[in-house]
Symmetry: D2
């Protein structure tokens, strides 16, 4: 399924690691270091993360699913439920990890664009105080969302206010938080200020594989070391996770990587504008382009290019998901646009 | 707690990664690769692992606790229990990860040397067929054990036969499997042949952080991809885990690393022989030396050297755990022995 | 909230126990009996249940939520999901018991009438074979449903065929199975023949409190004794649960109780026919009437009568749920109809 | 296995229900009652329980295992562990219900007589603050214990003080709390005053089947309604559980029942005194006699009498468990003593 000669638009996970990340890992390899995070590099990196977010604590973990589960483990008990978008990664793409690890129910809401709103959340608040119902206690949002959209700061503020009014805690899945910050032109702290706990994705931002769970309030952090261990996320050679985040924080690498990916998605979206048979399913605000096109054309494109069909639509159309990464180049995008152009005009949707 | 100038004897996790591992990770970074293991390097590495073990399947995960939990998830249901040594890592050092992820009870047995025997296992078989009792269904052994001992092939054979006679499945925690193979002079397949599922530790063997779950029988492997994902262990950039195991398998690096560590532990144990006030708590068969010494002396040593006190003993003695790694040198050991010698004669145990 | 002078239409759980049930419990009290079901009355009752259902095994438990969880525990593992109607009791009214006890995700589907169909089930089959998705493994249907409708035998047959085609197991929540059998004029075995595991509700059928889990195939029954105990459902004085089911099976009491309740619901539905401002939300096929009426009128009625508002509708209307029980009389229904009539004409919906 | 002609000494669960319990259930059957505990009888009974215990709240559940799990669910999170005696019912006889429902590890300690002491508890406090270890957070004791012994009020006080000093919460398994109160001549409140949460067993005290979870402090009670529902313990026809506790509280029936059972155990123990080959394994302080006798003799006795062999001892001896109930009579005991006398002198232990 890989096509070594052509850039993959299949996932931001298809990219390798940024050279600076690799250099940092190599540098971290010198000498011994106490395991499980009790080493200077980890302490320093965690401290930098805390500062960047204005947070009480930060915990490094292996992957994005784990970050979500660990993050929510700090906010809900088994009889408490999490309101989320139906399209949420933790609802659709994590094999039920949250339900298993936490015992908690997800209260999923269909959304038009991957984004919750106060109105959509309100629809899942029924049954509070009634022992027959799992009790809504936290809200989960992804920033950026799984469909390439971003909450504006105002939208985040409205969600935060809704949470406060209704005694709900807010967890933000930040697997692509850097892309959201790049899109909004805001700081990580500005995003984090709306959440109780959030994640910062390193893997999709150029790391080998590392995510951070950021805890804004000390009270929510007390159990985190134990939860992380019990949830199988305590790295023994922690310095190598720390090194990755250290490199991302150096000279704003996280932001440059995300900005590059976002720009390439924007370039791709712009390049499709006006192409017959095409339209965007969602605005391309982060590093993904979700395009509606004839399914037959998508199939033809997939012969040479690596990407996922996100959804089948009636009438012979589908939604293709095209992701860009920190290392996607203008030439990659332009080659892809050219290929799309070639396949266009064929495979018109069924009338 | 780190002492950069002196080799740590605190854990085989205090070492960094072997240069060949780092080179392999760098080499794996070229170009795009489909995520979640659907890439050529992962396929090739998994194939090599299968071959080395004579196994049906192999699954890469992030850490040792996860390997244990995933491995056991393939063998037991929540009402089924796991017989293990009281000193088992999964019983004592994983914050209850097994109980939480699987819902299963551990039936722990005190052992003289970290090793189960048919007699010890038999003591935990009570209550089979009685719904009030968690049903013993699997046995967990560590090879090498947590206290530096190894099961002989004959002992493994006896345990396997006991399991077969009593309808028990066998999981082998191989966080230090390489050290056991080096000690016994046997192949990985010879060890694996006694187990149903086992792990192969990469991290303590010179990797950055990677473990493998090896499944001997196809029937036990069917659920593994889903269990791995739900248990938060599916790496997106899987090629980087694969690269680490690829390097360990190249030219027997895994064996050279383990052999070096074992030799250094042996050298340390030999160097202590006859030193007054010292004795080995367990035979030094893998890469750890567990030495009984006066607690006051251990404290003094800890001022300059990084290691754990494993247990306090009556009479002012303690058991110190001294671990060696692939990169421990003869000079490191000799320097440590000299330091021990200097502190000896002081801190006699309370009469 | 109870109104002792007037029959409650709030729930079939508001009724007490049928006198024959109480007599059976008293009779069962004579002498000693070995605990946990190892007594002659339990053995005999279980045997009668097996025969009535053509089943391999039957297990008595305390309540309906437990019956659902135990039943599903025999069919799914944590990474396997259960397709169900959004209105399913186990989805909406059991505080997330399934998710917590089993770790499994529920794949809930909106339905027009509480009933799944092959088409609705097919919509939740996405992601099979993909480790990112909880794997659909079982289907849950309630017979009768939570909104007073019943699957016809033909509909059950279609669901069974769909399950067989798609390698799905079928669990039937039979909290009101007797009402469904009474409605359809079929045997319990005819209903059970479509399921792999199902429950038989005693509590809503005139018992003090007892439910049975019926397992059609021996292979699914093997783990049941242990699951029942671990799920906290093994009664020590089991004879008293057995006595209740014994009485229900005697002379078809279960059917007479259910038929009476159904008839009273039918009488109520008929009595409302043509009343201005009223319509049925769902056909009244079992022992519940779900009526659309002006919300203000429902509120007035609730001052004197015990019942739940099932849903608020736009335009000032609501759905009221009126349940009948084995002991609801024609006089009760007629008194209630008269009361409704009195409140009608007031509280017109907002234009 | 039942022997209808002879009183069972197999379990206090082999007895039926006290006539006053049955009368109360019958009386509670009149008319409708709102389900799930929202009825006057339940409210009144819960209020009486609160008063009897000086407690903040009380919750009725179906069985003893459930009471233990619900009780502990109010005190620990999954990474927190429960210190208990190895012989604890929740450790040995509940099929791992605690581990599954709560995800928590049990830290079991061997005891000489079923009773924890500060010294024994201290032995399981290792690893606090270390994320690798499940964190001891609660202590579980049974009062009376599973081997027929009772903690004195002074011993309870010492345990309470130990808990307070070490930031531990105390759960008391009161499946036989009435027997302990009868033995000690103290009130339920005096016992409860040492605990944070405890259970009150109805079933072994003459009920059909009902247990109560008593919560001393309001803060621990907040989650209880949801935990009870999610743990499948919310009875719909709650009035029938309430009726049982109501009857037990009337005129001190709970105390009379327990006192009678205790007296009969004492009479049995006294009757064995001096019988050759016999000795008590534990003092008979509640309603059980644990007697050491030749195993061959125990086998012979079991041909005519229903009881369990608690443990096999070396040298051809065993420990027999003989339980008495509220309805055990002097004649029952005397007949049993006579039977034991007849079998004595045969089956001498191996020299």
């Amino acid at each position: 399924m890989t096509s070594p000669q052509r850039k993959s638009f299949g996932s931001d996970n298809h990219a390798g690691a940024h050279p600076a990340i690799l250099s940092a890992v190599l540098a971290a390899n010198a000498g011994d270091a106490t395991a499980y995070g009790d080493d200077p590099l980890t302490e320093q990196t965690v401290s930098r993360l805390r500062e960047a977010f204005g947070a009480a604590a930060a915990f490094l973990v292996f992957g994005g699913t784990a970050a979500n589960v660990l993050g929510l483990s700090l906010l809900v008990r088994p009889f408490e439920a999490v309101i989320c978008a139906e399209s949420a990664h933790l609802n659709e793409n994590e094999c039920g990890a949250t339900e298993r690890a936490l015992g908690s129910k997800l209260l999923a809401v269909p959304t038009p664009d991957g984004k919750l709103t106060p109105g959509l959340m309100a629809a899942r608040l029924a049954g509070r105080g009634d022992a027959h119902h799992a009790q809504p206690r936290a809200v989960e949002i992804a920033q950026a969302t799984e469909v390439g959209t971003c909450y504006t700061l105002r939208e985040l503020q409205e969600i935060r206010e809704f949470c406060d009014e209704h005694d709900l805690l807010l967890y933000m899945d930040g697997a692509r938080l850097a892309n959201a910050a790049a899109h909004l032109g805001c700081t990580l702290a500005e995003l984090a200020g709306h959440a109780d706990v959030l994640s910062l994705g390193g893997t999709k931002n150029g790391a080998l594989g590392a995510e951070a769970v950021i805890v804004m309030n000390e009270a929510h952090a007390v159990a985190a070391p134990y939860q992380r261990m019990q949830l199988m996320q305590l790295a023994s050679k922690m310095r190598f996770l720390a090194a990755q985040f250290g490199a991302l924080l150096d000279d704003g690498l996280w932001l440059r990587n995300a900005s590059q990916a976002n720009r390439m998605a924007r370039r791709l979206a712009d390049g499709l504008a006006g192409m017959p048979g095409f339209r965007l399913a969602y605005p391309a605000e982060a590093n993904g382009v979700f395009a509606v096109l004839p399914a037959a054309q998508a199939s033809r494109l997939q012969q040479d290019w690596n990407f996922h069909v996100w959804a089948d639509l009636p009438g012979g159309e589908c939604v293709a998901r095209w992701m860009t990464a920190f290392d996607t180049t203008e030439a990659d995008v332009d080659e892809f646009i050219a290929a799309i152009r070639v396949t266009a005009g064929h495979g018109h949707p069924v009338a």
